[in-house]
């Protein structure tokens, strides 16, 4: 495995011709980020994953369970798989929030997600997600890189390895982090594993400098750097004049120009000032609660427009891990993310990009139907549940509207049309026009794939056009 060297490693793939002037005799495989054809006509060509780290409570947001409300405060009539045995209780916690049906599809959405209710006919809610491993770290890896172990390439790494990117002056794969910190498992969330390090996610930081090593410290930006580069160019030209036949020296001069171009392109892509007031309003950038997350969702859209293949927007560490005080903290988490997430779907749609861009909203787990931390109504929470949880997907060939799969009457276990993480991955690869067995990388004498021999199946019920069998 190779963790990233420089933060700007995505630039490595841009000039494969110059990558190895002294090449050993045997030809080695070369890697780049040039766009590559899919194995069959793709429905999706780009993806934004809004990763809700911590585990949003499906029974309070997307998977209503009237049975729980009837039993609220009583003993749970079954067996619970707990994570934290010390604070475990078997007292049922009915959802404190009301659900209503929306749109032509009649999808149930909680009152905590008013904006999402406006786009229900564009999204497909999967109610039967399952990873089956009750820790954040392991379940994150399952959802995001296919297996519960650390060290395998993330989904974005696989997609850019298979397809490259449609841009050559922006990263192919972007991870956008929250100003209040990294998700659980930190930088491993966008790790390339053993794939070459140019397939690692490039972090767009929540504050300046947004991309590390792409800009100098602020006081050296602008004219100071221009002067430095002009002088450097003179030095290099002078040295080239003394060694006029050294193409390597000319290439390095060109590399400085390329680097400067990338600075310009990235700066342009990250600058949201040109966006209209209406767009700002749509993403909630004009409101304190949604400003920060809204900006990141808007930047995600701008990156996708400019040919970035995969963008993953992270919430802070354990943002949705509501073990306690769920009555106040879950609404806060929803408030921050609901409007921008719905705006992204609307915005991509109005720009004609939703058809080819997958939007994913979800985390690594959901939550239990019983109380955790029985310390009064304001303090109660819910423990982990990876046996049945919800997320939604939109665009790029995913079904428009409706729900898929079901959990038991208490929302604990997925029981109908279970979607394992590898089924979700198989479906994504299908939409990107990729054959799961052909996106392969040889490592340690093994042919490695995203599914890694797990029995992942395309989930026909969540796509618009089921594959011909």
């Amino acid at each position: 495995m190779s963790i990233a060297p420089l933060a700007v490693n995505w630039l490595l793939g841009q000039e494969d011709a110059s990558a190895a002037p002294f090449k050993p005799g045997l030809k080695r495989p070369t890697f780049d980020l040039q766009p590559k054809p899919a194995h069959k006509p793709p429905q999706a060509t780009a993806m934004v994953s809004l990763f809700m780290q911590g585990g949003p409570s499906q029974i309070d947001l997307l998977d209503p369970k009237p049975a729980l409300n009837k039993l609220d405060g009583q003993k749970f009539p079954g067996t619970i798989k707990y994570d934290n045995a010390a604070q475990a209780s078997s007292t049922v916690l009915g959802s404190p929030w009301k659900f209503k049906q929306y749109g032509n599809s009649g999808t149930h959405v909680s009152e905590l997600l008013p904006n999402l209710s406006e786009v229900v006919d564009d999204i497909c809610v999967i109610r039967s997600m399952h990873t089956g491993v009750n820790n954040h770290g392991q379940s994150i890896h399952a959802v995001n890189s296919g297996r519960i172990q650390r060290g395998r390439p993330a989904l974005g790494s696989w997609l850019t390895y298979a397809l490259g990117a449609e841009t050559d002056n922006l990263p192919a794969y972007v991870a956008m982090t929250d100003p209040r910190g990294l998700p659980v498992e930190g930088v491993l969330n966008w790790n390339n594993g053993w794939l070459p390090s140019l397939y690692q996610g490039t972090v767009i930081r929540p504050r300046e400098p947004r991309i590390l090593n792409l800009e100098p410290p602020s006081y050296l930006q602008g004219d100071v750097q221009k002067n430095y580069l002009a002088f450097l160019n003179e030095l290099n030209q002078d040295y080239l004049n003394k060694n006029p036949r050294e193409l390597e020296l000319a290439a390095r001069i060109a590399n400085y120009q390329l680097a400067a171009r990338m600075q310009t392109a990235a700066r342009e892509a990250l600058n949201i000032e040109q966006e209209t007031a209406a767009t700002y309003r749509m993403y909630g950038i004009d409101e304190a609660a949604t400003e920060e997350y809204g900006k990141r969702c808007l930047i995600a859209r701008r990156l996708i427009e400019r040919g970035v293949r995969f963008v993953q927007v992270f919430t802070k560490n354990q943002y949705w891990d509501h073990h306690g005080s769920i009555r106040s903290s879950l609404p806060a988490s929803c408030l921050k993310t609901d409007k921008p997430a719905a705006a992204l779907v609307k915005d991509l749609k109005q720009r004609g990009l939703l058809d080819s861009t997958v939007v994913h909203w979800g985390g690594e787990m959901g939550r239990l139907p019983v109380i955790q931390n029985d310390a009064g109504p304001e303090r109660v929470g819910r423990d982990h549940n990876t046996y049945g949880f919800s997320m939604w997907v939109a665009g790029g060939g995913f079904r428009r509207g409706g729900t898929y799969g079901a959990t038991d009457e208490f929302g604990h276990h997925a029981v109908e049309n279970v979607v394992h993480h590898y089924d979700y991955h198989a479906t994504l690869l299908h939409l990107f026009g990729l054959d799961p067995d052909r996106v392969v990388y040889h490592h340690n004498s093994r042919a490695q794939t995203l599914l890694d021999k797990q029995p992942g199946q395309v989930v026909n019920g969540i796509v618009e056009n089921a594959p011909l069998v």
Binding site: E15, S18, V187, N236, A251, M262
Partner: protein
């Protein structure tokens, strides 16, 4: 909008080597380019089975038709006459008529081989032509052929398998440039092409080249000036000798060896890649060996069999024992996952053995022996059996059936004195431990009393007795009693801190009550006395009440003051402080043979350890066997160990072994010139390059052997030659006749290697910490996943917490920076530092935009430039011309021209103005320093710094 405009491609500017096949066809270099395809014929050759056809069939067909007794369809393709005889489908070829030949039909249609990898059109064509021309053999074929591998004369006589002979030093027409025999060999090859050596380069370039080459560091301006001023003809030779004597020499050349040895400070194999704590002893041994001019044959012997060359341990290890055991760390360099939970032990162990064989074979044999692990080598004459014979050499030390985990096999460096000292310090600390125990017991008693005091009087004594009664002897009533009163039941040394908190709570409660009492007392007293009373005057009017309040305050203070946990912690800390003086327990990673029974080695069918087949004894490559005087015995009676590795090591360095001396001489050449005489230094086999100068390679190898394997002597021979001292200036003739500089009519311009870039920046800015040896400088991930120097300090969720100061360690040479296989220091990896999986036999030298961005924007570069700017101001004062001159000399080893001074001064003025206005400029930087820093940064970013000409 999605697809942005196609940027100008720089491909137009930089031709890839692969873009120029026509060059390969130029008549001049035809002899040098036979690597293009080893398996197809050149026009005009008489095609024979042995030379042209067998290699194709060996690569594609033998696996099913001939190798290891396999005869699919009754067909054996290993001899012409067997091919003619054919198998179930009848004769395979019809001499003279390719179109009637089954062989051609099957391979042309792609029916055979029945796997994805088909024959190339060229190969099919070659077979067809051979049949057409009568399907000839080079000589009579053997009468009989068994299942053992067959070597043809062509294979036995392959260039690298032939013995090394001292070639005649050729004569040249130009004799003026001859300094060492190397010049004869190079010139003799150039002259027929109408080429000659380039002029000698200038002295500034020469000293810079020699410094980077031997030390990996730039010369100081003073050293450069002294060398330029020294007009003595021996000045250069003295320079080389001085550099060879520098301790930095071992750090530079040791690094080259560490690449092929696959040195890393982590275990690899699993994604955890845990640190390998004691690997650095081996790194230090390598540096030491180069500095001490250890003969390379001894260096090899020690690394392969150091443990077999020393008496077994009795008591303290001697210096020699430590050295030899450390050397065997070479055989412990492979990635090793056996110390990590959850791995399949058998697979992991066998991988360690396989990787070790890869390291040994690529570093010392120059062959990809590993290909023969699962099947006979497709191209080289290395049957699977040979692979396992080689494995048998290492089996007694790396016994996968009786494997020692990394923790179990460490060799302790503790001496008897260390043990004694540790024991006496421990005894001292134990006294403190004892005091702590007594104290702890007192606190428990106190706590018990306090807790009991909160309970109703009648049950106090029963609970106290229950608490004091040992758990097993408690009656049911006692158990219940304790269960009902957990605050007593839970009293223990470990929970005292919780009771400290309860004391705090009690103190708080006393305070609250006291406050209420005080108000009440004041009111009462006021009412009674009829005067205004305050807290301060209460004592005067109501001394009893005041005394009660005072008692309460004291009680609260006492509760707060006597914290059990804090007090006990002080004892613990004192004991730890005493124990800190215990000598550190240091270990070696070594190889030894300790098993009673020598393990048997089997050929693994298809490399699968679960399918052992034929048993084999120790050995080397059969194809070489007839050239070699000695066997590798299964057991050497005179040694406590089997002696197998010692025998192999001695074989490598014996005069009749053709590979090792050539391989090492080639590596030394490679690092001086940027390309090897054999430009595939780890592969001297069929798929590797052929030597550009076979006689020169042999001459170097013989010189090397006969001088007693002196590496420094080889450096001198090479560096004192005219070839090495040439200018790197390319001419039109060079570009048209020999663009890749295979013939050395000039020096090649070379980019600094990763360590050289970092070390030179530290040296030039004056920050370099030249401390040698010891624990590696740690690396960690920063907040975006970039690998930087630093001590990782993460919480349970991998969130970084407080940074830890490194106290100058961060400025040490790159060879001392931790090599975590999965986490290579970003600034080194950007410049092609190798990934050790398991080793690196040839570095690449890339030219990519992240390197530009590193110089333009990275904090590392900006920091170095700031420090350099301050250094220049300290040394040159505030005069701009002197500053510019100084920075030029420090970075380039040159004085600037007048125009360069003017241009730099203009830059400084512009930058001063801009930076003077910059409000976000760090406070410690004046506009002048910040401006000078951008000039420093420009020089450090420039090609003149980054390249050695």
């Amino acid at each position: 909008m999605r697809r942005s405009g196609q940027p100008e491609t720089i491909k137009e500017l930089i031709p890839s080597r692969l873009d120029f096949p026509p060059r390969m066809l130029r008549p001049l270099l035809l002899t040098l380019s036979i690597v293009a395809s080893p398996l197809t014929a050149n026009a005009g050759d008489v095609l024979t089975y042995e030379q042209h056809i067998r290699p194709i069939l060996k690569a594609h067909c033998f696996q099913c038709h001939g190798e290891a007794g396999k005869r699919e369809g009754e067909l054996d393709l290993r001899l012409r006459r067997l091919i003619v005889a054919g198998g179930e489908s009848g004769p395979t070829i019809e001499a003279g008529d390719p179109d009637a030949s089954l062989l051609v039909e099957r391979v042309r249609s792609g029916e055979m081989p029945p796997i994805d990898k088909k024959l190339s059109d060229n190969e099919v064509e070659t077979i067809s032509k051979w049949i057409e021309s009568g399907a000839q053999t080079a000589r009579a074929e053997p009468e009989s052929i068994g299942d053992d591998p067959v070597f043809t004369t062509e294979e036995r006589e392959f260039w690298s398998f032939r013995s090394v002979h001292r070639p005649t030093v050729p004569k040249t027409s130009n004799t003026a440039r001859l300094r060492t025999a190397i010049d004869n060999f190079i010139l003799a090859r150039l002259e027929p092409e109408g080429m000659e050596l380039s002029p000698v380069t200038n002295r500034r370039a020469l000293i810079r080249r020699a410094y980077f080459d031997l030390l990996g560091l730039p010369p100081t301006p003073e050293a450069t000036d002294a060398f330029v001023a020294d007009e003595s003809p021996a000045a250069y030779e003295r320079l080389i000798d001085r550099l060879l004597a520098s301790p930095h020499y071992g750090e530079r050349w040791g690094r080259h060896w560490l690449d092929v040895a696959g040195y890393a400070d982590s275990e690899g194999y699993t994604e955890d890649d845990p640190p390998r704590e004691w690997a650095y002893h081996y790194r230090d041994y390598v540096i030491d060996s180069f500095n001490a001019a250890k003969p390379f044959d001894s260096f090899i012997h020690e690394q392969i069999a150091g443990d077999e060359m020393i008496p077994p341990r009795s008591g303290d290890l001697t210096a020699e024992q430590i050295q030899n055991l450390t050397a065997t760390g070479f055989l412990r360099m492979a990635p090793d996952g056996t110390g990590v939970g959850g791995v399949d032990q058998d697979v992991a162990r066998n991988e360690v053995v396989a990787d070790t064989i890869t390291i040994v074979s690529t570093s010392l044999m120059g062959l990809s022996v590993g290909c023969a692990r699962c099947h006979d080598h497709r191209y080289d004459p290395i049957p699977t059996r040979d692979y396992y014979r080689l494995r048998a050499v290492f089996a007694p030390a790396l016994n996968w059936k009786a494997w020692k985990l990394p923790q179990q096999r460490r060799v302790s460096l503790y001496t008897k004195a260390n043990h004694e000292q540790a024991a006496s310090i421990n005894a001292e600390a134990a006294k403190i431990d004892k005091q702590r125990e007594v104290k702890a017991q007192q606190y428990i008693e106190r706590t018990l009393a306090e807790e009991l005091a909160t309970l109703p009087e009648p049950i106090r004594e029963p609970i106290r007795v229950a608490y004091k009664t040992a758990g097993k002897e408690r009656t049911t009533e006692q158990q219940q009693l304790l269960k009902d009163h957990p605050s007593v039941a839970n009293i223990s040394v470990g929970s005292l801190y919780l009771y400290d908190r309860r004391r705090d709570e009690r103190a708080r409660k006393i305070d609250v009550e006291r406050k209420a009492k005080e108000t009440r007392f004041i009111e009462e007293t006021q009412k009674r006395a009829g005067v205004a009373v305050t807290a301060a005057t209460l004592a005067k009017f109501n001394p009893e009440a005041a005394a009660e309040l005072k008692r309460d305050a004291e009680a609260a203070a006492k509760l707060r003051a006597e914290k059990a946990a804090d007090d006990l912690k002080r004892y613990t800390e004192r004991a730890a402080a005493i124990r800190a003086d215990i000598p550190r327990h240091v270990f070696l990673r070594a190889v030894t043979e300790t098993d009673e029974k020598t393990p048997a080695t089997f050929v693994f069918h298809r490399g699968d350890h679960q399918q052992p087949k034929e048993q084999v004894g120790p050995g080397g490559l059969s194809v070489l066997e007839q050239r070699l005087a000695s066997d590798i015995a299964a057991n050497e009676e005179s040694l406590p160990s089997t002696g197998r590795r010692l025998a192999l090591a001695r074989r490598f360095t014996s005069r009749d072994y053709p590979l090792t001396a050539r391989v090492i001489a080639n590596r030394i050449w490679l690092h001086h010139f940027g390309r090897g005489i054999v430009n595939t230094p780890g592969d001297f086999g069929v798929l590797g390059d052929r030597p550009t100068h076979p006689d020169l390679l042999d001459w170097l190898a013989v010189e090397f052997i006969e001088s007693g394997w002196q590496v420094k002597r080889l450096h001198r021979l090479i560096m004192l030659s005219s070839v090495y001292r040439q200018s790197s200036q390319r001419t039109e003739q060079h570009d048209s006749l020999d663009p890749d500089n295979k013939l050395y009519a000039r020096m090649s311009l070379r980019r600094l290697e990763s360590e050289q870039v970092r070390d030179a920046m530290l040296a030039i800015s004056g920050q370099l910490n030249t401390k040698m040896f010891g624990d590696p400088v740690p690396v960690m991930e920063d907040a975006v996943g970039q690998i930087v120097i630093g001590k990782e300090n993460l919480d349970g969720e991998r969130k970084p917490v407080n940074p830890i100061a490194l106290q100058g360690e961060e400025f040490r040479r790159s060879i001392y920076v931790q090599v975590r296989r999965s986490r290579i220091l970003a600034e080194l990896e950007a410049f092609d530092a190798p990934e050790m999986t398991p080793n690196c036999d040839r570095r690449s030298s890339s030219n990519v935009a992240p390197q530009s961005l590193f110089f333009m924007n990275s904090q590392q570069t900006v920091n170095v430039a700031n420090v350099l700017a301050q250094r220049v101001i300290d040394e040159a004062g505030i005069d701009v011309t002197r500053q510019v001159t100084r920075v030029w000399r420090l970075v380039f080893g040159l004085r600037p021209t007048a125009e360069e001074v003017d241009a730099a001064s203009a830059l400084l003025q512009q930058q001063r103005e801009l930076l003077g206005k910059a409000t976000d400029r760090p406070r410690e930087l004046t506009p002048e320093t910040a401006a000078l820093s951008t000039l420093c940064q420009a020089l450090l970013s420039s090609n003149r710094f980054l390249y050695i000409d």
